[in-house]
Every structure is written in C-alpha cells, then in structure tokens.
Amino acid sequence: MAATTQTTFASANNFEQCLKCSICTVYCPVAAVTTAYPGPKQAGPDGERYRLKDPKFYDEALKLCLNCKRCEVACPSEVRIGDIIQRARMQHPQRPKLRDVLLANTDVMGTMATSMAPVVNLTLGMKPVKAVMNATLGIDKHRTFPAYASQKFETWYRRHAAQTQESFSKHVSYFHGCYVNYNYPQLGKDLVTVMNALGYGVHLLEKEKCCGVALMANGMHEQAKRQGETNMQSMRKSINELKRPIITTSSTCTFTMRDEYDHVLGIDNRDVRDHLSLAARFIYQLIDNGEVKLAFDPNFKMRVAYHTACHMQRMGWAIFSTQLLRMIPGLELIELESQCCGIAGTYGFKKENYENSQAIGAGLFQAIKEADPQYVATDCETCKWQIEMSTGVPVLNPISILAQALDVEKTKQLNQN
C-alpha cells in the first residue's frame, strides 16, 4: 500500500465528503417554497452517486436550482453542492428553448437593443407585448426587462474617458459586464469617477465577453466556455503585460469568473483568480493598507439598507461593501438579514419560476418594507431588478453611493502623489 493511500480524498466537487447532515437543505431557498425541488443534498451529492451509476438518474427538477450557492455556504464539509448540480445540468444538455437563448445571450441582445433603445424599452414595457411574451416565449408577464441605455458604456468610455486615463500613475482594468454596458452605464461612469479620484486610471479589457453565467444557467455551456476563455486571455494580458489588476462592479460576474470557470466549466483560471476582485473589495483593501484616502461631502445624507446578494455571501465579501459604506459619515446603514431575493438572473424571468421566485424573495421584501430605507444597496444587478419591482424601493450599487458621497476634488488631492 502506497504511503498516500487513503490519506487524501478526491472526488468531483468533493461530493464524497458529504456527511448527509442535511444543513444545506435547511438553507436552500427553493426547497423552502416548493416540494417539486428535492433540495441540494438530494440533487447534489446523493443524486451524483446515482448519476455515476447511470446518467438516466438525472432529474429534471435540477432545473429548479437557483444556483445561489447558499448550500455551499452552509456545508460544514466543503462539498461544492451547487457546482455538482451545475455540472450535472451541463452533462445533460438539452436543446435550449428560444426564450432561454434570448435570455442567455445578454450581449447579443444588448447590442441590438441599445441601438434602438427608446423603441425597445417602450415596446418591452407594453402590456400587450408582455402578454405575447408570456404566452409565446414563457417570459413572465409580471417582469419588465431592465431598460436598455441609448449609449453603451463602452461607447461613452471611448468618447469621454479613455483619453485621460493614461495620465494616472496607477491603473486597473474594468470588467464592466453586460448590465453596465447595455442597461446602466451610470454605474460604470461612477466607477471611473471613484477610481480616478483615488488616483487610478481605468481601462477596458482588450476584449470583454459576457461572463457566461446566463449561458450556463440555460444549458449553453460550450458558448460559455468559449467566452470564458476569451475573458481569461484578456485578463492575463492585463495582469502580466500591463500589470493592471481587474476590478468589477457585479458580484455574480466576479463569482462566475473566479469560481465557476474552474469548478463548472473546467477553465484553468488559477493565474487570474487572485487578480480579479470586486471594486468595493479592492477599494476597501487599498484604504485598509493606507494606500488611498477618502474625503466625503459633508452635506451627504442617505438612509441605506444593504442586501447581501447570494454570490456575495458565497464569496464572503459582503463585509467589504458594508465596511466601505460605513465609512461614509452621512450614511445610515441597515444590514438586512442575508437571504435570497429569488430572481437568480434569468431564472425569475421564466414563467414557470415566477411564483417560486416571488415566494423566495417574500421575506426579504418584507424586511425592506419594515426597514423603510431611501435606498437599498447591493452588489448584484439582478437583485436590483427584483427588489425594485417587488418593493418599489430604488436600488444602488455601493460604488454609485460612494460616487455620490465623495468629495471628488478633495479625494483627488488626498491621493495625488
């Protein structure tokens, strides 16, 4: 017997380490609202044993998984339950529905839509159109697509920001993601404002593709993998040649590229992972290391409730956002109990998931109503849609709040060296 025999244990996403304690199922937001989903333990490690015996044991109910990864946070044995479920779905590909292709191809749809934004927004918001989409595509009629911007963030950046970025002494690359590019360029502009104030030039990656999270959720893993490889290549260039770390403003894009690329898609991202961070964390760490200082507008006042997006919970990074917000003197922060809002990206847009989606979020919506904030802060754009639709309270990314609260000129001076 070799010296290492039975001393280390290797199984796909640690499924063998499961001790059947069932804590994951207790924390599963889907299992809490429907019996149609067997819960993460059954869908994950239990099901995996059977799927290894015979792929026919794949269960369609796995599609009900939100991929929130709260099971993984709960697991005391480091079983990557969510990844096991994602991989099982990946290994049982089915031809995606037209709806799923539309929902998943965020960048193609975004490119088309931004060029005709006013018409598209008006059309997608009309009741008869929603009824038709509900009936023919299975996109729930209660949902409104996030409005498309008439100018892409990238276009704005090239016209208004690119020229001045080289003048800084320190630099970062910015993975803006589809949402900032097509729907909400303001967040990208806020990021540029904040980083410039801190003395950092902000640059686009040589080539940015959608991180692929929506493609993975809709069974288009090959395309997701291709896009992931492109992103990794651009990031490698940024890190190795340009010496620019990469920051983002979307928790889900970040989580996907840091963790799911490796665990689910099998993309080797080890050399990139540590150089890819959420802007809030990046800035917090700069402050913590004494590398930058912030100066705030003394007149800024805001009452904010912070919602921990699922993937923020999984990464354990909510602390960076809340600590950053706490530095703002005029900001009153209420930390909401961490729970899933129910949207999970494209999941909640699907007619068949609408009811579950709202039932899952009900606890959060209630908590927000009780907290009665001016704004909800969260690091995830899809949580933003869900919370705004379900509570009417406007939602901001912590970076946007920071941009509003900063005394930009003073901050610039503090960080000139």
Binding site: M1, T5, K20, Q42, R49
Partner: protein, 539 residues
C-alpha cells in the same frame, strides 16, 4: 397451500441463493416445497460476495468445467434475471509487473470454454474504462457483468411462493427426523417465538453452504468442507463502469466490480475454522491487502471513500477420495446420501458458486424428482424471474429518482409499490432513494421482520450515511406495521451496531466523521443506547 400444514414433498434447508433457487425449481415442477432459513435470506455467503456475474474467464485456465458452467449460466441469467443483472462487461488487464505471455494462455483457454475474449489495445481499454490503471500493457474484454444477489434470491423466493412453496425465515433446523436409515423431515425452532415445530417430507435438501457440513453431521454424515474466508471492501460510489480483473493466475484482491451505486474490491482467501464462520470480522491486514492490490486495478481507489468492509465464507468441498483437502474444487457438489452414506431421503447440494446456483438447483431438483418419481423437465433456464419478464422496463412513467431506483431494484415488481400520495413517495433512505411505498411493499411482501431484512430487500441503509438518516425513519415504519415500538427501538440499536461493525475496519476520513455524527445523533442526542439498556434492565 395451507400454511399450517407440516407435510411437504421437499424440505429445503438454507435460504441462500442455492436454497431459493432449488425451492423455485422444485415448486415449478409441481412439488410441495418448504424452505427453512435460520436467520435472514442471503445471510450467508450469498449476501457476502462480489456480486459478480462471472463470464467464467477467471476459471478458464485452471478449471475448464467451471468456466463452461459459468458462461452458460451467465448467458441464461442475463435473460431470466435481467432486473438483477447490470451488463457492464469486463476487462482482464495485464500490468507491467505481470507476464504478458499469460494473456495468450488466458485467451485460448477462454475461447476453448466458449467465452468471448477480445484482446484490445491498452489505449482502447483506457477509453472504455477511464478508471483503469493507465500503465496497463494488455487488456482483454470479456462478458463479465454485475449481479445483485439480494434481488436474485428474493426473485427466486417470490417465484417459488407463486408456485405454492412455503418459505420461513428465522426458523432454525435443530435436528433431522431420522427413522430406519431415512430422513423423514426436520425439527425446527421459530427463533421469534421459540416455538418448536416438526415438518415432514419425503426428501430433505441440505442447501446450507458451509453450514451444510453441520447439518450433515446431524445425520452422522461427514462432508469434507473447508471454510475459506474472503474479505471485501465497498467503496462509496462507482469508480468503474466495467468489471476490472487482473490477467494472471487468480490471487488476492484482483477483481473490482461495479455493484449498483458502489464498487467492490475483493477478495482475500484464508482457511478459517468452522467455529468462526458465524462471526466474520475483517482484519487490518486484509484491508491492507485489498487496498494495495485494489489501487493497482484502479488508482482512484487510493483516494476514494470506503463505506465498509465485510467477509463471506466460501464452501469449498474436498473430493471424497481426498480428505486432506489438497485438491479443492469450486465445482458443484450434489451428494445423494442414499447411495453415498445409506441415508435415504437426504440430499446435499453445495460447492459451486452463486453464479451457478441455477444449475445447482437443477441438479438437486433432478435428483429429488427421481426420488419422488416425478418426471417433469426443468424450466428455470427459460422462464424469467418475477421482475424480469419481457418488457422488463416497467410501463410506469418514472416520476422521480425514487421510482427509477425502485424499478432498478424490483424490475416489473416495482409496479406494486404505491406512489400515489406524497407520503408514499417520501424518501426514507435518501442515499439509495427508498420511498415509504417501497418500505411498505417490502415489509408486506418480502419477509421483512427487521431493519436488516429491509436493508437486503431495498438497500435501505446501504448508502454513504450507513443508516444515519434512514434507520430511525425505517424503524418507525416497521414499528407501526408490526405495532411494536419497543421491538423497533431495539432493532434500531442492533441495526446501527451492525452498520458500525462494517465501518470499523475502515474508520478513517469521511467514513469516521460520518460514524461520529451518527453516534452523536443516536446516542448523545436521542439517548438510544441508554434507552435500550434501560429496557434490557427492565426485562
């Protein structure tokens, strides 16, 4: 048939696969059959082997007769017991330390015995079976498969009963009724009630495996048998999809079999005293041998969780003219004690292998029929077992993981499992997908008295948690069905103790953590050990 009768044509002692198969064959030929089992069906060697549907290749070089029997029975069982068989195919691999020259001897011997044996490129073998040792230098593909001995035995028993046989477990034969050189029947004790019973039949068949030598002694007859202990290890999931064997002379731990959700490496082989065969324990040395050799077949075993260790006892029989036991055969031994020992009405069927149980049953039944002047041909080679009828894939729409798992276990008999209400479909055993409906079916139809019986009928408690989640739920159901909560509680404690016995030899890593969590839940949280001790004190 009236269950109260104690008159039969044939009494079969032993509820392993040989006894069950013989009961079926006898009943299908119209005989009035009683089968008596001391503990639970499959409790002996039947339930403690590899679960390998041998192609016969393993015996081809050394024992052509056994090899031929194997391949013939292999092909028969694929047809008549399809719901018990997983047609995986197998590989015989040659490793760098082995003699590649043996491969030719092996393949020639296989072909001579009628076993398909295709030499394939090692690269192809790696593609076919990605878990195989990548350093292999030779590979032969042969028609090995895996077979579930629990299902096979129950299907035989169910069919025997459908043909009128009576089967009783927990009935221990205490003596043979002998008059004037003839066995007239048996005396037995119902181990649950302590009641003494006497049953009469013109023919008594001793089908007790290694325990058969003890039954024969009751008639003053000596059968020269050598108990050979074989230890095996069960891994937590399927590492391999094909059976993997070493292409060399049979030795320790050279077969890795994918069985249902797990895979099993074995075996060792050691002569043990007959006095020890009721309590086989696996020693550290055996675990070491199994792991050392096992990881040569599939290196992933070195880093795969082990669920438990177990050991069975092969009934090796020495030929009558060689009482020293030097020439041991694995062939079938059917002894007519009338001609051999002057004891009429008594037959011993032993030796052989699980693989050849049907043929053993046929030989024993043929002999019994001759003695009873019954002239009816054996039909077990062509009549499917219950669960394996044509269109064996149940028509029932598979609704869930549990329904699919149950269909795998019971074949067409799964249609008898209630799945109408959410409670019927609720899972009792989550690892193996056993529903409340399946537990009810097993407890009503498959001779279930306790959790151990239930485990063998349904796989309840065989998964990676080894009973942690399911044992209390199943005990609750059995307690309700039997209207005896106290008994259920004691049974629960016994069952968990039995699970621990198998875990103990491999208690490290996740298996140990799992066992500790189980102990915490049942002992510290629920106080099961104290509750049982208190009850024992009261009695």
């Amino acid at each position: 048939m009236n269950k109260e009768t104690n008159e039969f044509d044939v009494i079969i002692i032993g509820g392993g696969i040989t006894g069950a198969g013989t009961a079926r064959d006898c009943a299908m030929r119209g005989l009035r059959v009683l089968l008596l089992e001391r503990f639970d069906y499959t409790n002996g060697a039947t339930g403690r082997n590899h679960g390998l549907l041998h192609s016969g290749a393993r015996y081809a070089v050394t024992d052509k007769e056994s090899a031929t029997e194997c391949i013939e029975e292999n092909m028969i069982l694929r047809r008549v017991a399809r719901h018990c068989v997983d047609e995986t195919d197998g590989l015989f691999i040659t490793l760098p330390e082995d003699d590649l020259g043996y491969q030719k001897t092996f393949v020639d011997a296989c072909r001579a015995a009628g076993i398909r044996a295709d030499i394939i490129d090692p690269a192809e073998a790696r593609l076919l079976e990605p878990s195989v040792n990548p350093t292999l230098i030779g590979a032969v593909r042969i028609p090995d498969a895996s077979i579930d001995p629990f299902r096979l035995t129950m299907a035989n028993l169910v069919d025997a009963q459908l043909h009128g046989a009576v089967a009783l477990n927990y009935h221990e034969v205490t003596d043979l009724v002998i008059e004037n050189g003839r066995v007239l029947g048996v005396k037995a004790t119902d181990l649950h009630t302590g009641q003494q019973k006497e049953f009469r039949a013109a023919v008594t068949i001793n089908a007790c495996g290694i325990w058969g030598m003890l039954i024969a002694r009751k008639a003053g007859i000596t059968i020269n048998m050598f108990p050979a202990k074989g230890a095996l290890l069960i891994f937590g999931h399927r590492v391999n999809q094909m059976v993997i064997n070493r292409c060399r002379k049979p030795a320790n731990a050279d077969i890795l079999v994918p069985d249902d959700t797990v895979c099993v490496i074995g075996t060792t082989s050691d002569r043990v005293p007959i006095e020890t065969v009721d309590d086989m324990r696996v020693a550290d040395e055996e675990v070491n041998i199994l792991l050392t050799e096992g990881e040569k077949l599939a290196p992933a075993l070195a880093s795969t969780r082990i669920l438990r260790a177990y050991a069975g006892v092969r009934p090796l029989v020495a030929s009558d003219d060689d009482p020293s036991g030097r020439s041991i055969s694995r062939g079938i031994v059917c002894l007519d004690h009338e001609s051999r020992d002057g004891m009429a009405g008594f037959i011993t069927i032993t030796g052989g292998k699980m693989m050849t149980y049907r043929l053993m049953a046929q030989e024993a039944t043929d002999l019994a029929c001759r003695k009873l002047n019954v002239n009816k041909a054996c039909a077990t080679a062509t009549t499917p077992l219950p669960g394996s009828e044509e269109n064996s894939v149940s028509q029932q729409e598979p609704r869930s993981f549990a329904v699919k798992a149950a269909q795998g276990r019971h074949g067409t008999m799964a249609d008898k499992i209630d799945a109408d209400t959410p409670l019927d479909r609720a899972l009792v055993c989550e690892c193996e997908g056993v529903s409340v409906g399946e537990i009810r079916y097993a407890s009503q139809q498959l001779h279930v008295h306790n959790l151990m019986n239930l485990r063998r009928r349904t796989r309840t408690g065989m998964g990676t948690c080894q009973g942690k989640l399911c044992a209390c739920r199943a005990a609750n159901l059995l307690g309700k069905y039997n209207h005896d909560a106290k008994l259920a509680q004691a049974d629960l404690a016994k069952f968990l103790g039995e699970r621990w016995k198998g875990v103990k030899p491999i208690a490290w890593g996740s298996a140990l953590r799992e066992a500790q969590l189980t102990a915490t839940v049942y002992q510290r949280l629920c106080g099961l050990d104290k509750a049982v001790a208190r009850k024992e004190g009261e009695q």
